[in-house]
Structures are given as structure tokens and as C-alpha cells.
Symmetry: C2
Subunit: 189 residues, 2 copies
């Protein structure tokens, strides 16, 4: 007799995977994930092909919140420059939280060390969308080299996330002036 | 009867720890490290109190090569600006290697997620020395705000290392123009 996984098991597994991999790293074991989610291993493997697939699904599941927490609405009247600055203001307040350990998509990719891992592919895509946002605003705002500016902005996003995440620096007085300098050099005043 | 660890065991363990943690992450097991170093676990624990201490020692052991690979000699006649650019030229060539997975001190700290881990403390110190180098050159070169410039330069160092390490970007046309913009804004022409 095959029993089906109980309602809510999938959601609890996704939540546990997101929370525990962020806190402890992608090496977290299946036992710990199932225990935290109060789901049997049998149920987990009914719902997800593997731990790798669970991890990928949990990163994917977090994408909407990631975007909502960083990007301005599409219907506001901010200028492209202000829309870019908005993202970094949001990063700064998120990075000030005591449990901030860096951008989860960056840390997952660093830890996995494998671009073909399903979770790396998801993370790569989600961060690529953020770079595309920067690229589009840079172009709308008349940046001299929108490609370069977008690469610089995502570099600052990841560099600041990483350094604040390891407690090597704080966001204050670092992120905003660096972004302002790059925008200015690109001709986006 | 206590047998002592054979000569060379310590060096082989340090080399294996450096190589395997960089390639596979700090979660690599003691068994794998001992096997790669051709050292018994008993010998390993004679030489190092714990895997954590072995990891810390391997990062410490790599510090001289890290510095030698990045920093200009103390006796050259480069200007402060040129000395800073030299570091990023070196980073760019290192980051172009196919097995580059980012700065080992940054990735170790991200993976360990614990500032009090002995290896995190070593990594923090070694990267702090690089920031101090930037700070000293910024001051010598007349930067308007040497503290800010040093923080920006190490942010670019870590951001570029991380993004190139996960294959999200390439160093070419990114690192050099970004550093040049920051130096210029700081008044270091």
C-alpha cells in the first residue's frame, strides 16, 4: 500500500530547506531536513526526486519574495537612477539584520561548486534576472555603457552581500557611495 | 607504544586540506583528507587537534603564497595607484584559470558561517591584511577618503572573485574599469 505524503508536507520541506541551507549550508543532511519539516524520508522522496531537487525547488520558491523584497513596483514614478538606488537601499536594510549571511543565491552557488547542479541553475537564473533589471534601468537612464554598469552593479550587490554576510564589513557608508560613484561615472546623475 | 607521525605527514595533510576544501568545500570529511594525504587518522590527530585546526592551519600556510601572488614587491618604484592596479591585474589572471572557484578565504568564511571558527579567524585576518594594504596605498596616493576607498577595493576584490568563481561573469572588461572608476572618484589619478 502506498501512502501519499500529507497535505502541507511539500510546503514544510521547502521552508525547512530554505531556512536550514541558508543557516547551515547546502551540505545539510536529508535527515535534518525531514526532521525539521516533520516529514518522513519516504514522503520526501515521494515529493522530490532527490535532495538536490528539493534544494532547487526551495530556491525557486523563494524567487518571488526575493524580487518583491528588492525591486520597486513597475508602476511607480521613480527615475531609472532612483529605481537602481532603491534596490541597494533594500539590500542595505536586509543586510543589517543580525541573521544575514549574504545573498542566498550567491552562497548556494559558492557552496555547490557545480554550475550544472539543479539548484545552481535556479540561482544563476534568478540572479540573472536582477542583472537584467539593472541593465534595463541603465539603458533607460542613458548610461554610457549599460552592459558594463549592470555588471558593476551586480558585482557590488554580490560583493557587499558576501562581505557583510561574513561580518567583514557593514553596509553603512559603503554600498550607497559605491553605487553613486558608478552611476555617476556611467553618466546617470 | 606510541608511533609518531612520519615526516612529511603534516605537509601532505596541509596540502590535501587546502586542495580539497577549495575544490569540494569545508564539509570535506576527515577520511577523505587522510586518504588524499596518505596519512592515518591516528597520525592526523597526533598532528592536529581537530579537522577545524587542520583547516585553519592550511589557510594560514597559504597566506604567504596568497600575498606573493597578489602584492607588488616593497622595493619597486610603482606609484600607489599602480600598486593597487597591480593587485587587480594579478587577480584577473588568477581568476582566468579554469579551476578558479573564488578567493579561498572568502569561500571558506561563507561556507563556515561562523566567525569564531579557527579557520574563519585566520581567513578574516589574511583578508584584513589585504584591506590594510589598500588603505595604506590609498593614503600614500592622496585618496580623499582612504578608508572608503580601501573598503570599496576589497568589495570589488571579493565581488569579482565570487562572481567569476561561480562563472556568473568573467574578469575581462569588468575589474579594471571598475577599479579605475573608484580610484578616479577618490582623486587617485
Amino acid at each position: 500500500m502506498t501512502t501519499e505524503a500529507k497535505p502541507g508536507s511539500r510546503e514544510r520541506l521547502l521552508e525547512a530547506a530554505a531556512r536550514l541551507t541558508y543557516r547551515d549550508g547546502v551540505g545539510i543532511g536529508v535527515d535534518a531536513l525531514c526532521k525539521a519539516a516533520r516529514v518522513s524520508k519516504r514522503s520526501m522522496y515521494q515529493l522530490f526526486e532527490s535532495k538536490d531537487e528539493l534544494l532547487a525547488a526551495s530556491l525557486e520558491e523563494g524567487a518571488a519574495a526575493f524580487v518583491a523584497g528588492l525591486l520597486p513596483g513597475t508602476d511607480d514614478d521613480r527615475t531609472p537612477r532612483e529605481r537602481i538606488l532603491y534596490v541597494f537601499d533594500q539590500l542595505e536594510s536586509q543586510a543589517n539584520a543580525p541573521d544575514f549571511l549574504g545573498c542566498r543565491y550567491l552562497t548556494a552557488q559558492i557552496e555547490l561548486k557545480d554550475n550544472n547542479h539543479p539548484a545552481s541553475r535556479v540561482a544563476h537564473q534568478i540572479k540573472g534576472n536582477l542583472t537584467s533589471f539593472f541593465r534595463a534601468e541603465a539603458e533607460r537612464g542613458g548610461a554610457g555603457d549599460p552592459d558594463l554598469l549592470a555588471r558593476q552593479l551586480i558585482l557590488v550587490f554580490d560583493g557587499a552581500s558576501a562581505r557583510v554576510g561574513i561580518k567583514a564589513d557593514t553596509p553603512a557608508g559603503l554600498i550607497a557611495p559605491t553605487v553613486a560613484t558608478l552611476l555617476e561615472a556611467a553618466g546617470m546623475r
